[in-house]
């Protein structure tokens, strides 16, 4: 009985090991379909944050108020969105979505962020070197000054035991008047997940 059981375990072990062999599978899915595989921050989280921020920023009348007062659209520059969580997250994924939605709404003008400006300035300086047709050269000293800066942070709180954790994310974005430091809009999105890692698998 005992040795039969031992042999059955040996065969089961072999079968299980062999069964793990299979060809890689790829399936295309809709961009909007939530796909939570690991429990870490993923594209669904970034999209949820972006959608909420877009909705809140477009429903708040800050842009219309500025236009009514100054006769032109507000100019916004995207500043750093600090990652204060415990995962390496690219915050550009939702700031770019927000930028796109605001530009497409026609209410806001965006100017290049500091990192983007370096490349553009290098190109402009290169155009002054004498290789470019003067009629098509971009003039120096004509950068548009921003009225507002978009700043933010992503924070997280994790409660963890081995193989199970709850994680709470809070994304905050603020629009700040560059001249007066006044905050004209604050957007916030909170996400909470519980992840359980199974004790046993095949």
């Amino acid at each position: 009985m005992f040795k039969r059981t031992l042999i059955l375990i040996l065969v089961a072990g072999l079968a299980g090991t062999l069964g793990a062999c299979s060809a890689r599978q790829v399936k295309r899915v809709d961009v909007n379909k939530p796909t939570d595989l690991s429990g870490y921050w993923n594209d669904t989280d970034a999209q949820m944050v972006a959608e909420e921020m877009i909705k809140e920023s477009l429903s708040n009348p800050w842009a219309e108020v500025f236009t009514a007062k100054n006769g032109r659209k507000p100019v916004v520059i995207v500043g750093p969105v600090h990652n204060r969580s415990q995962e390496h997250i690219n915050t550009e994924v939702f700031t770019k979505s927000l930028e796109r939605a605001l530009i497409n709404s026609g209410k806001v003008v965006f100017v290049a962020a500091p990192e983007e400006r370096q490349d553009i300035r290098a190109e402009r300086e290169d155009q002054q070197k004498g290789y470019t047709d003067p009629a098509t050269m971009a003039a120096m000293g004509k950068e548009l000054g921003a009225d507002y800066m978009l700043l933010g942070s992503l924070n997280s709180v994790k409660d963890e035991v081995k193989r199970q954790y709850t994680i709470f994310y809070q994304a905050n974005l603020e629009l700040i008047d560059i001249e007066t430091n006044r905050k004209v809009w604050i957007g916030q999105k909170e996400i909470k997940k519980t992840v359980t890692i199974p004790r046993f698998g095949l």
């Binding site: 005992f2 040795k3 040996l10 072999l14 079968a15 600090h82 204060r84 415990q86 963890e160 081995k162």
Partner: protein
């Protein structure tokens, strides 16, 4: 009879198939040698060429080795990409494969994937933080600080509060993360730095001193004092009394000047070795397969870290901040009881199976067949009964640190009398430099 023949065929085939399940990769000593002779690209190419030798069950070990060699080589971003994969692999392995576990009860522990020790999981955060520090990317270094905080909390919760002689906190990781918080500079980060330093001090003074013989480093006491002087005057008075010999390296002075931190990786970490013995009982051999750690390096004397420029020289002793030899040994010892129980069950089961089968063969087919069967059966048994000797072998034996507060400028750096590099530092900068040594 056909059933028994079938079983023997399956077992035989299984043994051939599982011959890979009797050892781990053997390429680490070569890689270590290349690293300490500064041939990093060679080390990396050997590693990549031998990825298949690691096998599907040792993917985590491959990623740990690769991540660390990339760090030694100064390829900080690539190192972090690999360590991030290692974190995910570690999480995946939290799920025990039932089939592999079953196999390990009848074959040996090489049937199980290499899961990494708790302290190795913490070292992933440590090396990633050091990579970001080298790149002066403090925001991402702090992501590691927060991650290691919740990792250590989860490790701690596995044990009873009064359970000693187990690894459940890491003083070095806490101290390092305090340095990362300080480097980031915002006022809330300074609060976090202060908390990290205090935790580090407590762990050094209680567990690390007792278990690993590592004293609270002077750098930690200096940083704690200088921060307390700025944000916690009552606490400052308490620390001043506790450490009367520690100088006050003013916080302002540190911000106005520059700091150069040396992280020295000394020696080769311990490797596991066989500690087997075989006993005959009732005409059958039984093998107890155990492993123990073998130290490959003993620290020899005090070292100094020096920064020299045309008109000035700064020098501090290199202090022991993490003893990986002792960490590894403590971790193995705390699992000794569970490992022993499993070995005994497996050893008894296999031994009995071989004895009963070969006795039956002898009874039915005569002494010659029985004799041959006994020899073959015992050979397979003794071969299969192996202790798991896998570990993260590219780790150093211990980690030392030194910190210099210097005027801004260009400096040549020395570890004892060996020149190890050159740095230019500006006011308020914190520069991390690394050195791999066998001395």
């Amino acid at each position: 009879m056909p059933f028994r023949k079938l079983i023997r065929i399956i077992a035989g085939a299984g043994c051939c198939f599982l011959s890979a399940c009797a050892s781990g990769p053997t390429v680490q000593p070569q890689i270590n040698y290349m690293v300490v002779t500064n041939r990093y690209d060679r080390a990396l190419s050997i590693l990549e060429k031998h990825q298949k030798d690691y096998g599907e069950r040792n993917q985590l070990m491959y990623l740990l080795d690769q991540g660390l060699v990339l760090h030694y080589a100064g390829k900080y971003r690539q190192s972090n990409e690999v360590f991030e994969k290692a974190k995910k692999e570690y999480d995946k392995l939290l799920t025990t494969s039932v089939s592999k576990e079953a196999l390990s009860w009848v074959w040996n522990d090489y049937a199980l994937p290499y899961r990494g020790e708790d302290f190795e999981r913490v070292m992933i955060n440590v090396f990633e933080a050091l990579n970001y520090a080298a790149l002066e990317d403090w925001e991402n270094a702090l992501v590691e600080a927060r991650d290691v905080d919740s990792t250590l909390r989860a490790i701690n919760l596995q044990y009873q509060p009064d359970q000693r002689n187990v690894y459940k906190e890491d003083a070095f990781a806490r101290m390092l993360m305090g340095m990362m918080y300080e480097a980031s500079g915002s006022s809330s980060d300074l609060d976090d730095a202060y908390i990290s330093y205090q935790k580090a001090l407590e762990i050094y003074q209680t567990k690390f001193q007792k278990l690993f013989h590592v004293q609270p480093p002077e750098i930690l006491k200096e940083n704690l004092l200088s921060l307390a002087a700025v944000i916690d005057r009552p606490g400052f008075r308490g620390f001043k009394e506790k450490f009367p010999d520690t100088p006050l390296v003013g916080f302002d002075r540190r911000q106005k000047n520059a700091e150069i931190y040396l992280v020295a990786y000394e020696g080769f970490g311990p490797v596991k070795a066989d500690a087997n013995f075989i006993v005959p009982v009732n005409g059958q051999l039984y093998k107890f397969a155990f492993s123990r750690y073998k130290e490959r390096y003993q620290s020899r004397g005090k070292k100094t870290f020096t920064a020299r420029e045309a008109t000035a020289q700064y020098s501090e002793p290199v202090e022991l901040v993490q003893d990986i030899n002792k960490l590894a040994e403590t971790t193995l010892e705390s699992r000794r009881l569970r490992l022993t129980a499993k070995t005994l069950v497996r050893m008894a089961g296999k031994g009995l199976l071989v004895k009963e089968q070969t006795d039956r063969l002898q009874k039915n087919y005569g002494d010659t067949t029985g004799g041959v069967a006994k020899v073959v059966g015992n050979l397979i048994y003794l071969y299969s009964e192996q202790a798991d000797l896998r570990s993260w072998e590219t780790l150093p034996a211990n980690i030392g640190m030194a910190r210099l507060v210097v005027q801004p400028g260009l400096y040549n750096l020395f570890f004892d009398e060996t020149e190890i590099g050159q740095v230019r530092v500006k006011a308020g900068e914190k520069k991390f430099v690394f050195y791999r040594t066998l001395k």
